[in-house]
C-alpha cells in the first residue's frame, strides 16, 4: 500500500502532494535535482503526462525515475494523446515497476500546447478513464481479459471547482467516485467562495470520507504568474483584487507568499479536504517556508541511498 493510500484510508493525517517538473534534456540528472528538492515533504508526487499539451519525457518513464529516487509517484494519465489501448499499456507498465497511485485526467486540449496541428485523441473521457482504472484494479482489461494477479492501485481524479457550471461540478465528483476514485486533486482556484461552495457540496452529497479532496496551491514570486494564469490557462480566473494586492504591494514577493499561505490555510479548513497539492512555476525557494508554516516536518531524504540503482545514467 502506498503512503498516500495508507494516510488517506487508515489515518486522518493531512497529506501533501506535489507536481514533478516535466523532464526534457538531461532527464535523469534533472530528475535527481527535482527529487532532492521535493523529497521528505510529500506523500505523493505527480508524474505528469505531457503537461499543457507539450511533449516531454513520458509519464511512465518519469514515474519509474521517481521511484528509483525514493519519491512516491502518482501516475497522471490524460486522455488527449492516447487511446484506451495505450492507456492500459501505460498503467500496466508503470504498475510493473511498483507504481501504485494513479490519476485520471481529461487533459488540456492540443490547442494549449506548441504542436496544435496534432490529432487530439480523447478516446475515453476522464470519468471513463477512472472506471477503466477500476477495471484493471479488479484484474481485467477493458475487454474482460484477465490480469492475474491484479495490480495494486489507488485511484484518483481531478476536478476544477472554479469553472462553470459550478453546481454541476459536485455531480462530476459523484460520478468519479462511483467510478472508483478515492482522491481528487483540484485545479487551482483563486475564488475562495467557489472553493467553499464546492467543498460544502461534496460534504452535502455525502461524499466527505468517501473521496479525499486535495485543493491545489501555487507558489509564485509576484503578480506575473497570476496574470499569466488568468490570461492563458483555460478554466482559471484570478479576481482583479487578488492580482492588484500583489502588484501594488511594497514587497510583491512577500505579498505573493502571504497570499499563497492564506489560500492554503483557507483550503485546509474546508469540509472534505484532506490535504494540499502544491505546484510552482520554477523552483520556488518558498516551498520550505510554506511547508514549515503549515506545520509540516521534513522526513528523511531518501534519494541519496538510491543512487546506486541499476538504471542510473
Amino acid at each position: 500500500m502506498s503512503t498516500l493510500e495508507h494516510k488517506l484510508t487508515k489515518t486522518t493525517e493531512t497529506v501533501f502532494t506535489a507536481e514533478f517538473h516535466s523532464l526534457d534534456g538531461n532527464g535523469l540528472e534533472k530528475a535527481k535535482k527535482y527529487a532532492d528538492r521535493l523529497s521528505g515533504w510529500f506523500d505523493g508526487v505527480n508524474a505528469t503526462d505531457n503537461t499543457a499539451a507539450h511533449a516531454h519525457v513520458s509519464n511512465v518513464a518519469t514515474a519509474i525515475a521517481m521511484k528509483q529516487l525514493g519519491l512516491e509517484p502518482i501516475l497522471q494519465v490524460v486522455c488527449r494523446d492516447k487511446n484506451r489501448l495505450a492507456q492500459q499499456a501505460d498503467i500496466m507498465g508503470a504498475s510493473m515497476f511498483g507504481v501504485e497511485n494513479f490519476l485520471a485526467l481529461t487533459g488540456d486540449d492540443v490547442t494549449a500546447g506548441d504542436e496544435t496541428e496534432a490529432r487530439r485523441v480523447f478516446d475515453l473521457d476522464g470519468p471513463q478513464l477512472v472506471r477503466l482504472m477500476s477495471t484493471i484494479k479488479r484484474g481485467e482489461y477493458m475487454s474482460g481479459r484477465k490480469i492475474d494477479p491484479a495490480p495494486h492501485m489507488f485511484i484518483g481524479a481531478v476536478e476544477n471547482p472554479g469553472a462553470p457550471p459550478f453546481e454541476y461540478r459536485v455531480q462530476r465528483v459523484a460520478k468519479k467516485y462511483a467510478s472508483g476514485a478515492k482522491f481528487l486533486q483540484l485545479q487551482i482556484c483563486y475564488h475562495q467562495d467557489r472553493l467553499e461552495k464546492f467543498c460544502a457540496g461534496v460534504r452535502d452529497a455525502g461524499l466527505a470520507g468517501k473521496i479525499a479532496i486535495i485543493p491545489t496551491i501555487v507558489l509564485i514570486k509576484g503578480a506575473r504568474p497570476l496574470n499569466f494564469m488568468h490570461n492563458n490557462v483555460a478554466g482559471i480566473d484570478v479576481p482583479a483584487d487578488q492580482i492588484a494586492r500583489v502588484e501594488k504591494a511594497a514587497d510583491p514577493a512577500e505579498e505573493a507568499y502571504l497570499q499563497t499561505l492564506e489560500f492554503a490555510q483557507h483550503a485546509l479548513a474546508q469540509p472534505a479536504v484532506r490535504g494540499l497539492h502544491i505546484t510552482d512555476f520554477r523552483n520556488d525557494e518558498t516551498l520550505e517556508r510554506l511547508m514549515t508554516d503549515l506545520g509540516r516536518v521534513r522526513q528523511s531524504i531518501t534519494s541519496e541511498v538510491k543512487d546506486n540503482h541499476a538504471y542510473s545514467a
Partner: protein, 131 residues
C-alpha cells in the same frame, strides 16, 4: 436499407442537433445537446477548461456544449427519466458504430453493447478519513 436509414437520420439530426453520426445517440440524456460537438468529444460532462463566460476552452466563440446541455436539462420540459439520465456514466464510444444509424442501433439494442470489462466496480469498502 441500413445506409438508407442512416442517410435519413443524418438529414434530420444533422441540421437540428449537429449530429456527428456516432451511431449511439445519447441526445435524450444530454438535454438534446450532442456531446460529439464538444471538441474533446467528452460524453460525461464538461472538462476543467470552461471559460469564465461559459465558452469552450478550445473554441472561444462557442458556448461549452456541456453548459448548454446542463441548462437545457434543467430548463427544458424533458421527461424526468431523461433528466435523471443526465448524471449517468455513459460508456466509451464504440467506434465501430461510426456512420451507422443510431435509430437502428437503438431498436436492435446494438448501442447498449459494452465491453466485458465495463462493469461497475465501486469499492465501497475503502473509506477515507475527513474533517
Amino acid at each position: 436499407m441500413t445506409t438508407f436509414i442512416a442517410t435519413i437520420e443524418h438529414v434530420v439530426k444533422g441540421p437540428v442537433w449537429g449530429c456527428q453520426d456516432c451511431g449511439q445517440c445519447v441526445l435524450h440524456s444530454t438535454g438534446m445537446t450532442c456531446p460529439m460537438n464538444c471538441p474533446k468529444t467528452l460524453r460525461n460532462g464538461p472538462c476543467g477548461g470552461v471559460r469564465e463566460n461559459g465558452h469552450c476552452e478550445v473554441n472561444p466563440e462557442m458556448k461549452c456544449v456541456w453548459l448548454k446541455a446542463y441548462d437545457r436539462t434543467q430548463g427544458w420540459p424533458l421527461p424526468l427519466a431523461w433528466k435523471e439520465e443526465y448524471n449517468h456514466l455513459r460508456p466509451p464510444v464504440d467506434n465501430r458504430l461510426k456512420g451507422t444509424s443510431s435509430w437502428k442501433n437503438f431498436f436492435t439494442k446494438r448501442d447498449r453493447w459494452t465491453p466485458a470489462g465495463w462493469k461497475n466496480t465501486t469499492d465501497e469498502s475503502i473509506e477515507v478519513g475527513h474533517n
